[in-house]
């Protein structure tokens, strides 16, 4: 089993700030996963735009 890279040669945990730890976890994600994260965010943005657009059009046609 691959050694946990957050531990040193003797197996002791390398202690860092939470932020650094989170950053480490982020950078260790495989490329395909990061690409999915990026595309997923854009898809979510598009869904939000569509929902907001639907709500606005419904309101506009109702009021005017």
């Amino acid at each position: 089993m691959a050694r946990d890279r957050r531990s040193d040669d003797a197996g002791r945990a390398v202690i860092g700030s939470d932020e650094r730890d989170r950053r480490w976890q982020r950078t260790e994600e495989p490329t395909w996963r990061r690409a999915l994260n990026g595309i997923g965010s854009v898809v979510v943005m598009a869904i939000v735009v569509v929902l907001v657009g639907l709500a606005l059009s419904w309101l506009a046609t109702l009021v005017l």
Binding site: T27, R34, N37, V42, V49, V52, G53, L56, A60, L64
Partner: protein
């Protein structure tokens, strides 16, 4: 007083431009075998006639010996300008030889429209344009978008400060080179992610919508390139609505939004740094603009009574608003309807969205949401100064992907200059159109001029084949000015003047 550039400056610019032209021309040359497979021998010949001399010149240009390849700020700006124009000249050759353009100026107009990711076209009989030349149009969009991203990323990285203008005034570094490696990696990743997602998503959606298998690959590539690069060239006459597929339209909305979102924000999203994105000022203005244009379009459409039910208002309104803000210029209805049936408020909202455009550091055009936001911040800063006691120091700042920036007068001046130049361009373009044809309405002229300088490409039936040469020339220049953010063109002109008149 202008200082004449050194011989090394000129050699370095030619060499760097030759690299860009070589890559672009090799892409065109590779389309020749595709044309042969498609049974388009004439198009294959036209592609080779255009690409072969450019490839040769690119190879020779890269062999020019220089003592320094350092890409200084001036060299980078002039290189970008000369590369864009040279690539448009190369692409204009096969387009003109296709016989689908009235004159050389019309072919060059389409080539500039392609490499600047605008999408205006003066092609005659698009439906019978050889399929390999439809692919050439897509290649122009991809190459132009990638180059724009690359230049933007390299400059941003090299400056390590916000590039609100192309002037090196606020830079920390004098040289652009240190940023090119990271810029290239980010550009490649963004283009690949958007391209793969688009080809799969749009391809499946189009096949479900009933597009014949024979034309599916080229239609897919063409639509994906048009949406993801914000280029806007469509493969056939007619609008996206002709596919009668909500899924196709949704996929194009996803790609358009991706193309107009800055690479930095996309990279932060890939690393799930959502807090940074939420706090990013440019992104906040981008979202605000999208919401404002959506609201304006919906209210305008409802008020004009263009559509009777809620669903058509939402469907056409959402797509039009996203296409405007992302400066893609695609539409779900015949574009002429924007003038004849959309009333006044909806086109006004769309024109505002087109002028502002997407995020700085993306492939979209316009003067960018960041400059819009900085201008607003500048007004807030001035109001604060008035309200505070004399001698009080007021600092206005904003967040850029987790880093706090402080607003300076240089930022506001730079943003104001760009916005003012854009407005001058819009007025100049509209004036030329109104002069050329008295039947064109002011609204149509303003919309078309904004569309050209904002690199949008939404044609409302004003720019058509057979236009007067001075109209095509003016709009060709406007598209270049918009993409190179004015100062790039000014720097290139200044460089030529300095060669002739500068002090040695």
């Amino acid at each position: 007083m202008l200082l004449a550039p050194s011989v090394d400056d000129v050699k370095a610019i030619i060499r760097a431009s030759a690299t860009g032209v070589l890559v672009f021309s090799l892409g065109i040359a590779l389309l020749a075998p595709v044309a042969l497979v498609l049974g388009e021998a004439n198009a294959a010949t036209a592609l080779l006639v255009g690409a072969a001399p450019a490839v040769a010149m690119g190879v020779l240009g890269r062999r020019i010996p220089t003592s320094s390849l350092r890409l200084t700020w001036t060299r980078a700006i002039v290189t970008a300008t000369t590369t864009w124009i040279a690539c448009a000249c190369v692409a204009a050759v096969p387009l003109y030889l296709s016989g689908h353009f009235v004159g050389v100026d019309a072919a060059f107009f389409d080539a500039v429209s392609g490499v600047t990711n605008t999408g205006h076209s003066l092609v005659a009989d698009l439906d019978h344009l050889p399929r390999s030349l439809v692919l050439l149009r897509s290649w122009m969009e991809v190459a132009g978008g990638a180059a724009f991203l690359f230049v933007g990323q390299s400059l941003l990285e090299a400056r390590r400060a916000l590039a609100t203008s192309l002037t090196p005034g606020d830079t920390m570094g004098e040289h652009v080179m240190p940023g090119t490696g990271k810029g290239l990696r980010r550009t490649w990743r963004t283009i690949a992610a958007l391209g793969i997602t688009g080809v799969v998503g749009v391809g499946v959606a189009l096949s479900v919508a009933g597009v014949p298998l024979a034309s599916l690959p080229i239609t897919t590539i063409s639509l994906v390139a048009a949406a993801a690069t914000t280029g806007g060239f469509i493969p056939n006459t007619g609008a996206v609505g002709a596919y009668h597929s909500v899924v196709v339209e949704f996929m194009l909305v996803v790609l358009m939004l991706g193309g107009a979102t800055s690479v930095g924000v996309l990279a932060a999203a890939a690393r799930r740094q959502h807090d940074r994105i939420r706090n990013d000022f440019s992104f906040q203005v981008y979202v605000g603009m999208l919401a404002a244009v959506l609201a304006g379009t919906m209210v305008g459409l409802a008020r004009a009574g263009t559509f009777e039910a809620v669903v058509p208002v939402a469907r056409h309104g959402i797509f039009s608003a996203v296409a405007a803000v992302t400066t893609t210029g695609l539409s779900t209805v015949a574009p002429e309807l924007f003038i004849s049936d959309f009333g006044v408020l909806a086109p006004a909202a769309l024109v505002t969205g087109m002028a502002v455009g997407g995020m700085l550091g993306s492939m979209s055009g316009g003067f960018s949401t960041l400059r819009m936001g900085l201008l607003a911040k500048g007004v807030i800063s001035d109001v604060r100064k008035v309200l505070q006691p004399e001698g009080a120091v007021s600092r206005v700042g904003w967040m850029r992907l987790g880093r706090r920036e402080v607003l300076t007068d240089a930022h506001v001046r730079s943003a104001a200059t760009t916005v003012m130049l854009f407005l001058i361009g819009i007025l100049a373009g509209a004036t030329v159109l109104l002069w050329a044809d008295g039947r064109i309405a002011l609204r149509g002229a303003l919309l078309t001029a904004t569309s050209a300088i904002g690199n949008v490409g939404l044609d409302v039936g004003v720019l058509e084949p057979g236009q007067a040469w001075y109209v095509t020339t003016t709009f060709t220049i406007l598209m270049l000015l918009g993409r190179l953010q004015w100062l790039g063109i000014f720097a290139a002109i200044g460089f030529v003047v300095a060669i002739v008149q500068g002090r040695r």
